[in-house]
């Protein structure tokens, strides 16, 4: 691509790409600490309410949550492929592959919302609201579900942001802003998406498996 993608204060497009990649990775480190704080809270509260947390794991949406894991992993694979083919200059294929990731991201959100609706129907809300907590008196149920809504909610927000970013990138590939020479843009979007994926890899066992 022509030099127009290069901003004035960079000497080359390579340098600009390196800066974008590094900046993104530093930001990802920040994101890790964001979720890290919540994982610490989960660990500390789980130690205090061992049995209630174990019992809570036997909830109604285990299957849906596990399907969602597959959805995210597959979506990540597609965007990874998109980066590879874009490096080879096949812009249209890359756009198509990224679109699949976007669709799968939306599917994840749809399934997640379905889960929230199911839990709501069972009388399980955040902050100990709902009749479930009248029937289950142990105080440990409240933090489990509050953390469930907080952590998966924050994650869903990240999925939404990631999906929007990738949708934007599909537009970029269609209209020419993202090409072989500016593949770093898609790489950044993909790296963010992989991290969002990775968070779920930790949330899934904590709230669905063990």
């Amino acid at each position: 691509m022509s030099d127009t993608a290069r901003h004035d204060h960079f000497e080359s497009l390579e340098q600009q790409g390196d800066a974008a990649r590094l900046g993104l990775w530093v930001f990802l480190a920040s994101e890790v600490l964001l979720f890290g704080a919540l994982f610490v809270l989960y660990a500390a509260l789980r130690v205090q309410h061992e049995s209630a947390f174990r019992e809570s794991l036997e909830h109604a949406t285990k299957t849906l949550g596990s399907i969602n894991t597959a959805v995210l992993l597959v979506s990540s694979a597609f965007v990874a492929m998109a980066v590879h083919v874009l490096r080879a200059g096949r812009v249209k294929v890359a756009a198509a592959l990224t679109s699949v990731t976007v669709i799968l991201g939306l599917a994840f959100l749809a399934i997640k919302i379905t889960e929230y609706v199911i839990h709501g129907g069972e009388g399980i809300g955040p902050a100990g609201t709902g009749h479930f907590f009248v029937e289950h008196r142990d105080r440990g149920f409240v933090p489990f579900w509050t953390l469930y809504y907080t952590m998966t909610g924050l994650h869903a927000l990240h999925v939404f942001v990631g999906t929007s970013v990738l949708a934007f990138m599909v537009g970029g590939m269609v209209f020419g802003a993202i090409r072989e020479s500016t593949v770093y843009r898609l790489e950044c979007g993909a790296a963010y998406w992989h991290l969002v994926d990775l968070f779920w890899i930790f949330l899934w066992p904590l709230f669905y498996l063990a």
């Binding site: 204060h9 530093v26 930001f27 600490l33 809270l41 509260l45 902050a127 100990g128």
Partner: protein, 557 residues
């Protein structure tokens, strides 16, 4: 200071390019600028406004303490004032102060770059900061907050003041902090001019880099603490509430996991300024460049492992408390490495005592004094006695306010000629430095004595035996205030009518002095020649002058 400025020889090889101040004077060009220098100035003005506001709160608190019992306000107003004083000073002044104002201005120049890596994000970070600050200020009008700046649960979650808005505001400001950090880290890695290796960077860059690492890694943890507090306050979220199976101690853990490293976000940039000023005015390279650079990372790293020292009386086990105590003392080791380096550099150098250096002297005294009391409060047995008293208040004011404020003022005077192209009046600067130091000492030293005698912090009322020390402290605050208002007056004067500054009025070797004052929009007219390092005082100055500083030493006498 007779400010005989040499006649400025015309630059021959270039038609003089307009400075960054002169390229476009419209308001729009300022508000939408992506020039790091202008963004630095936008931050500077915003931050100065907030330090003024926080200062007014502090003055009112001190006036209230002139007498025991109700004076000029009710107990509730008092609670709101000290809370807002803390929130404003910590998040709207000290955290952003030196990095966003001076870091933004000089870091790219020190690296020989045209701008920071992400100029648009840089502008965005300013507006995020502004929005966050406005939300914090809005909380003032929605009932204020009475929790103190620490927002401890469970009190904060049950307080019927505007905790939601204040925490939301600080949360938003946090985004600005993270974006700034990402920008500086990337800029340092990516935009160093050819020839500027890591070990050739000016030391100020090292400290801003270290600060940025802390900002990026610690701030998100605060974000979680604040979001959960806001949710708890608004919707009874309950993560920090015993009755709902939560745990209030967890708030303290994650709050201090951020807020202790935050102290180093405040002090490290000031240390960077000190390193620059000490070298420049001793006309001498730092005694050990590497020791100063690496100890920055010692502080940044160990700073993450000390948060428990805020919780000695919160039921930590003896072992944990001891471990946190020892780790906290390690910070003093790294700080001492820096301090000895600075003093030894001064001793070996030929010192010219100018205002920035006077502020650095104040820094050194306050920092060492505050640091030593820091080792004292890190000792668990002593801390039990001093916890939540004025002793702690005095300690952290000495070290973080004394450090940051004097560093900020040193930076302001040191880089004023570079930023504005004008010289400030030296004698008035010296008066201000003396006023600030004396005022600061008289305000806060009595608070050590008050705390040791048992005066608890955040109390509206006090016993008669504390009266005289409170009066001394209040009187000191007036001198401090005068010392802070004074520069506003003479610097404003100097901005318009001060004598023209040469490019390198201090005879510094650092890179930012190798470009015109004020710098052109893209920082350098020609490729920065870095064959002479930023501290190569044994090499002749003539090698790199930009053609305008013509005196023998390159210094105005």
């Amino acid at each position: 200071m007779s400010a005989v400025v040499p006649a400025l020889p015309e630059r021959e090889e270039h038609v003089p390019e307009a400075s960054f101040l002169g390229v476009d004077r419209s308001v729009r060009s300022w508000l939408l600028t992506t020039d790091h220098k202008r963004i630095g100035l936008l931050f500077f003005f915003a931050i100065s406004l907030f330090v003024f506001l926080g200062g007014v709160f502090a003055m009112l608190i001190r006036i209230e303490h002139l007498t025991a019992g109700p004076g000029i306000m009710t107990a509730m107003t008092y609670n709101r004032l000290f809370s807002l004083h803390g929130v404003t000073m910590v998040w709207l002044f000290m955290i952003p102060s030196i990095p966003t104002a001076f870091g933004n201005f000089v870091i790219p120049i020190m690296l020989g770059a045209k701008d920071v890596a992400f100029p648009k994000l840089n502008l965005l970070s300013f507006y995020i900061f502004l929005v966050g600050a406005i939300v914090v200020l809005v909380s003032m009008f929605l009932g204020g907050i009475d929790t103190g700046w620490t927002f401890y649960a469970p009190y904060s979650t049950h307080s019927n003041t505007a905790v939601f808005w204040a925490t939301l505001g600080v949360f938003i400001v946090g985004w600005s902090t993270i974006v700034t950090g990402v920008n500086f880290i990337t800029t340092t890695h990516n935009l160093r001019a050819k020839g500027i290796s890591w070990m050739r960077m000016p030391l100020f860059v090292w400290t801003i880099y270290g600060t940025s690492v802390i900002q990026v890694l610690a701030t998100p943890v605060l974000a979680i603490a604040l979001v959960l507090t806001a949710l708890d306050h608004a919707f009874d979220w309950g993560v920090f509430d015993r009755e709902r199976g939560g745990d209030p101690l967890l708030f303290q853990h994650i709050f201090w996991f951020y807020s202790h490293p935050a102290v180093y976000i405040m002090i490290l940039p000031a240390m960077g300024v000190v390193s620059e000023v000490v070298s420049t005015f001793s006309h001498r390279n730092p005694f050990s460049y590497k020791a100063i650079a690496y100890s920055t990372f010692g502080i940044a790293f160990v700073g993450f492992l000390t948060w428990g020292h805020h919780m000695f009386v919160a039921g930590l086990s003896t072992f944990d408390a001891g471990a946190f105590g020892i780790l906290s003392m390690l910070v003093a080791v790294f700080s001492a490495i820096k301090t000895f380096n600075w003093t030894w550099t001064l001793k070996r150098g030929a010192v010219s005592v100018k205002t920035p250096l006077l502020f650095v002297f104040a820094f050194l005294f306050l920092f060492v004094f505050g640091g030593m009391t820091g080792v004292a409060v890190a000792t668990t047995s002593l801390d039990v006695h001093w916890h939540d008293t004025y002793f702690v208040v005095a300690h952290f004011h000495f070290i973080m306010v004394g450090g940051t404020l004097t560093g900020f003022l040193a930076a302001l005077h040191y880089w004023f000629p570079k930023v504005t192209g004008r010289m400030y009046p030296e004698r008035l600067g010296a008066i201000s430095a003396v006023l600030v130091f004396t005022g600061f000492f008289v305000t806060f030293f009595p608070q050590f004595l008050l705390g040791n005698a048992g005066m608890p912090r955040r109390y509206f009322d006090y016993l008669p035996r504390y009266h005289s020390l409170h009066v001394v402290s209040t009187v000191g605050s007036w001198a401090l205030a005068a010392g802070l208002v004074f520069p506003v007056v003479y610097l404003t004067w100097a901005l318009f009518w001060g004598p023209r500054a040469p490019d390198n009025p201090w005879g510094s070797r650092s890179f930012e002095w190798r470009t015109p004052s004020p710098p052109p929009k893209h920082n350098f007219h020609t490729q920065l020649d870095v064959s002479i390092g930023p501290y190569d005082y044994d090499k002749p100055l003539a090698g790199f002058t930009t053609g305008r500083s013509a005196t023998r030493e390159g210094e105005i006498e």
